[in-house]
């Protein structure tokens, strides 16, 4: 399992558009991706669940990646977060 932490800098937080893009991104991997904030977790391939976490600007989220392609997925996801959130 790989994991990294990320502080959200998008002013509106994890809103519909980046959340939608994240779901698309995650679905490319075999690995299971989980996002956690304050003890609440969500499968990152589920848009409404992600949005219902209400992740806001300045929140710190933990991203967990586990599966066959976890190394590649974790690296690419970290880049994705930096570029989009």
């Amino acid at each position: 399992m790989k994991q990294f932490q990320f502080t959200i800098t998008d002013p509106v937080g994890l809103h519909a558009r980046p959340a939608g893009l994240l779901v698309k991104e995650v679905k490319q991997y075999e690995s299971k991706v989980t996002i956690t904030k304050d003890g609440k977790s969500s499968d990152a391939s589920k848009l409404m669940m992600l949005m219902s976490m209400g992740v806001k600007n300045g929140d710190i989220v933990t991203v967990e990646v586990s599966g066959a392609d976890e190394d590649k997925a974790a690296a690419e996801l970290e880049a994705f977060f930096k570029a989009n959130l």
Partner: protein, 535 residues
């Protein structure tokens, strides 16, 4: 004749018959089904059609209202493909053995409640999106056409309209719309403005109006049912004028604000609220030269939060899509009072505790606004302008605080754009030391209303002095010339955002004096463009 008043979200006049629109909201009944897998397949097929509709809507919206506004339909597609949403529908069909319509409606209610209960305004508002997508599928399932097919031009009266319904309506047949619900900042309101459709919200609608003649007066937020002939005549006259203005627009839209010998003028608009942006776009201004931020403070009972301000600035910046948006920091005091600021009564408020004087004294309020402005600058081309400057030290202090705010944002890895800083020149003091001030800032914007009142020592609010108030006083004109020349020496561009800027008889004079920018109320943009292009 009955008159109703609501909130106008787009100015303009419409005259026509009312069509009372009842939502495609289907009364969904729970029906037991035998073959649940067939029902699941029926749902999947309906979802495919709904997705196809959304793709078409997205394309239509991109063309009509631009990518930023169209994005909502892309998000709806993503929501329709959400796993949990779909799983919930499959489960209800399979476990309860019920029809797809019922499963979709129940799931839609559950998910929309989940969002409605969230704290954050942005996420709360997504409840409407979940409802909208669920209704879309139900409509496909029952074979209803979502959206109303309009056969003749009508004023549409409805409880509420979803963004998708608004875009789907045939624009050539839609004269105006009037709804009970909805907010001025909703997607529907923004779409109405971008489509130039007069619209009112917050009117207690009545089904018995169906088929009656009516007038929608967007300027005054009025709906008049069964207007008397004299009233109708008056509105027809106004509508004619509106049409003439639109013809001017058609002729001048998209053309550069350039004189015959090739000098380009920045022709910008003055606005006082987020909603005014529609008017700016409709009149084809090339930017916003004065966005008065007071509305954020005046419409509230307490200080607006950083996030509230940020959302307002960001919305304007995004809607202007890269065009310059100059936002003036808080300018209260004098004739604009806000209760919760708890300010003392003053003998002479025009020369009192106001504008930048308050901001530099109560830096907490000032920094909140600056943080919101800088954060919003990541989403467009924002410039900040400071009012009521009289000295170099004020400008230096303002710049120091801006640096402080930027450093704090850097520490929190919050991005911001490249923000031009400028000052209002509205005191004789600032005009006379404009050579010094020009070294400090990127631009000057001359506020002719205050500059004239302070230069002539004439209170604008005193009607007894109207006969000696001379807007063209040579002292003011000379001061404007000094400011332009001093600005240019240091590479500052110089504009006028006061009422004088919209005086068509002065446009040529100002251009000859070397002015770079004129910022005027949106309705003056095209008449001035016409003059500029003929010089």
């Amino acid at each position: 004749m009955d008159t109703y008043t609501g909130k106008s979200i787009f100015n303009g006049i419409a005259i026509g018959r009312i069509l009372f629109y009842k939502k495609g909201e289907q009364a969904v009944t729970r029906i037991k089904v035998q073959d649940v897998e067939a029902e699941v397949a029926r749902y999947k097929e309906a979802r495919q059609s709904a997705l196809k509709q959304l793709r078409q809507l997205y394309d239509k919206a991109i063309e009509e209202v631009g990518e930023v506004n169209a994005m909502i339909f892309e998000i709806h597609q993503m929501m329709l493909e959400d796993e949990d949403y779909n799983d919930s529908i499959y489960n209800i069909i399979r476990n309860d053995g019920v029809n797809a319509e019922f499963a979709v409606a129940t799931t839609g209610d559950n998910f929309s409640r989940m969002f409605a209960e969230m704290e954050d305004e942005y996420f709360k508002a997504r409840a409407a999106d979940v409802k909208d997508i669920s209704e879309r599928i139900v409509n496909v399932l029952v074979g209803a056409t979502s959206g109303k097919d309009l056969t003749e031009p009508v004023i549409l009266v409805a409880d509420d309209l979803a963004p998708s319904e608004t875009v789907q309506l045939d624009k050539s047949k839609l004269l105006a719309f009037v709804t009970l619900h909805g907010s001025a900042n909703s997607h529907t309101a923004i779409l109405a403005r971008t489509m130039n459709i007069p619209a009112l919200i917050g009117i207690a609608i009545d089904e018995s109006w169906n088929g009656k003649m009516a007038v929608v007066d967007g300027k005054h937020g009025k709906l008049i049912i069964d207007p008397e002939y004299s009233v109708l005549e008056q509105y027809m006259e106004e509508q004619k004028k509106e049409k003439e203005a639109r013809a001017l627009l058609a002729e001048l839209k998209g053309l550069p604000d350039m004189t015959k010998d090739g000098k380009e003028i920045k022709l910008y608009a003055n606005i006082g609220s987020v909603a005014d942006v529609a008017n700016v776009l409709a009149n084809d201004a090339n930017g916003i030269g004065l966005f008065r931020s007071e509305f954020l403070y005046l419409e509230k009972n307490t200080y607006p939060t950083e996030d509230e301000q940020f959302m307002a600035y960001k919305t304007v910046a995004q809607n202007m899509a890269g065009k310059k948006v100059i936002i003036r920091t808080l300018d209260i005091g004098a004739d604009k009072q806000v209760d919760y600021f708890d300010m003392e009564q003053e003998e002479n408020p025009a020369m009192g505790y106001r504008a930048i004087r308050i901001c530099l004294d109560r830096t907490d309020i000032f920094k909140t606004q600056l943080r919101a402005l800088y954060r919003a600058s990541a989403f467009g081309n924002i410039a900040i302008m400071f009012p009521m400057i009289i000295s170099l030290s004020e400008v230096q202090e303002v710049k120091r605080i801006c640096e402080e705010v930027k450093n704090e944002l850097d520490e929190n890895s919050i991005s911001y754009g490249n923000v031009e800083l400028g000052i209002m020149i509205e005191t004789p003091a600032a005009a006379m030391i404009s050579d010094i001030l020009a070294k400090e800032v990127d631009f000057f914007s001359i506020g002719t209303n205050d500059l004239t009142q302070y230069t002539l020592a004439i209170d604008r609010q005193n009607p007894k002095l109207d006969n000696i108030y001379d807007a063209y006083h040579p002292a003011v004109m000379r001061m404007i010339q000094i400011v332009i020349d001093n600005g240019h020496k240091e590479g500052c561009w110089v504009g006028i955002c006061g009422e004088l800027g919209a005086d068509l008889s002065l446009t040529e004079t100002f251009i000859n004096m070397g002015i770079d920018e004129l910022s005027v109320s949106p309705t003056f943009i095209l008449p001035i463009r016409k003059i500029i292009r003929e010089l």
